[in-house]
């Protein structure tokens, strides 16, 4: 059992164990939905919802799950919450649900969520799992926001749909294309590693 403080448990998801930038988990949705800030935000919030509730359920029933079928159990729990998120978006935010397409149902195979159940919720108390899920999803949301802001501002000259660049600005079309997603994330990973090696040395 770790003796981390609640604060440290939350903060580790933001940087030290940031799911996207440090653990390279959940890269598919990260790349796919960050063409605009609004879709990135929606995906981050939907994932937050699923991760927190799945961690809550898994950590409360962890003693009842036989070890052999634990993965299947986690998947069913996660799939149920993804279905709720998907139906909710379809009912209340139809345009966003359309823009996200198959990526909302695909939260079910997001390795961040399954990874946290296996690595954390299944062996920690409900409270700790909740803090851990909150930290991880904030880290995921932050990574999505940084990536989608860069891509929307450079690729369309807008932020959340509002014009932020002057009329002199020529949008870099490549940034909204798939290629822009790969290249921007590659550079961000490099920057994250650079910062990490700097802080380690000092």
């Amino acid at each position: 059992m770790t003796t981390k403080t609640i604060r440290a448990e939350y903060l580790k998801g933001l940087w030290d164990e940031n799911p996207v930038l440090r653990q390279l988990l959940g890269l598919c949705p990260t790349l796919a939905v960050t063409g605009t800030v609004i879709t990135g935000l929606a995906m981050g919030l939907a994932t937050t919802f699923v991760l927190i509730l799945s961690s809550l359920v898994v950590s409360s029933i962890k003693k009842l799950i036989p070890a052999q079928v634990r993965i299947a159990t986690y998947i069913v729990v996660i799939a149920s919450f993804v279905t709720i998120a998907d139906q909710f978006l379809k009912a209340f935010f139809y345009p966003i649900s359309e823009a996200l397409g198959p990526y909302v149902p695909l939260i079910v195979v997001n390795c961040i969520i399954l990874g946290r159940q296996e690595a954390f919720s299944s062996r920690n108390s409900i409270g700790r799992s909740l803090i851990d899920a909150l930290g991880m999803s904030t880290g995921f949301l932050l990574a999505l926001l940084v990536l989608s802001s860069i891509r929307e501002i450079l690729g369309a000259g807008t932020f959340l749909g509002y014009q932020v660049m002057g009329p002199w600005f020529k949008p870099w079309i490549i940034m909204i294309l798939p290629a822009g997603a790969f290249i921007t994330l590659g550079i961000l990973l490099g920057i994250a590693l650079k910062i990490e090696s700097k802080t380690k040395r000092s």
Binding site: L24, L27, C28, P29, L31, A32, A72, I75, V76, A79, S80, V82, T83, D86, Q87, G101, P102, P105, L106, V108, V109, N110, C111, L114, I174, L177, P178, A179, G180, A181, F182, I183, L185, G186, I187, L189, G190, I191, L193, K194, S197
Partner: protein, 191 residues
Amino acid sequence: MELIAIFISAVLVQNFVLYYFLGICPFLGVSKKIDSALSMGLAVTFVMSITAVVSWLINNLILIPYDLGYLQIVSFILVIASLVQLVEMFIRKISPPLYQALGIYLPLITTNCAIMGLALIAALNGYSFVETVIFGFGSGIGFTLAIVLMAGIREQLDLSDVPEPLKGAGIALIVAGIMALAFNGFIGMLT
């Protein structure tokens, strides 16, 4: 003609890795050597073709007639997870050499979002049975093409001088970006 268009589109234009961003984990993880990349690609193609058939049957014979659309996510993921296990046991029994070649990659495929994505996208596009089969097979070939090309580039990359922080995943993503740009050129083929 329609079928050929679906096939070409699945292989080149709407490539699973470079257009839909699905299957990035194996794409980055198993693309260090051409041999293993090819095995992974073949295993994915194999599972994708079967998944396409099974998910179409479930969707069109059970979920749609009984108005159970909301169970789509749960049923697809459970079927895919058990299907991969079944395929693994089946191959081990009937063809040990094939199992040797694909063996370690098969369990990895369960959590591969490309498989789940295939089932969902085929259902979303409302493909007919034959179209779904072509789409599944073509997507697998497209994945294989992308991962083998990537492995070829990365074998060369080992010898070049990459800046320290970009080593590993960073440079791999940038290379994938350039590949995506090249594949973008294929869009003209379908218009």
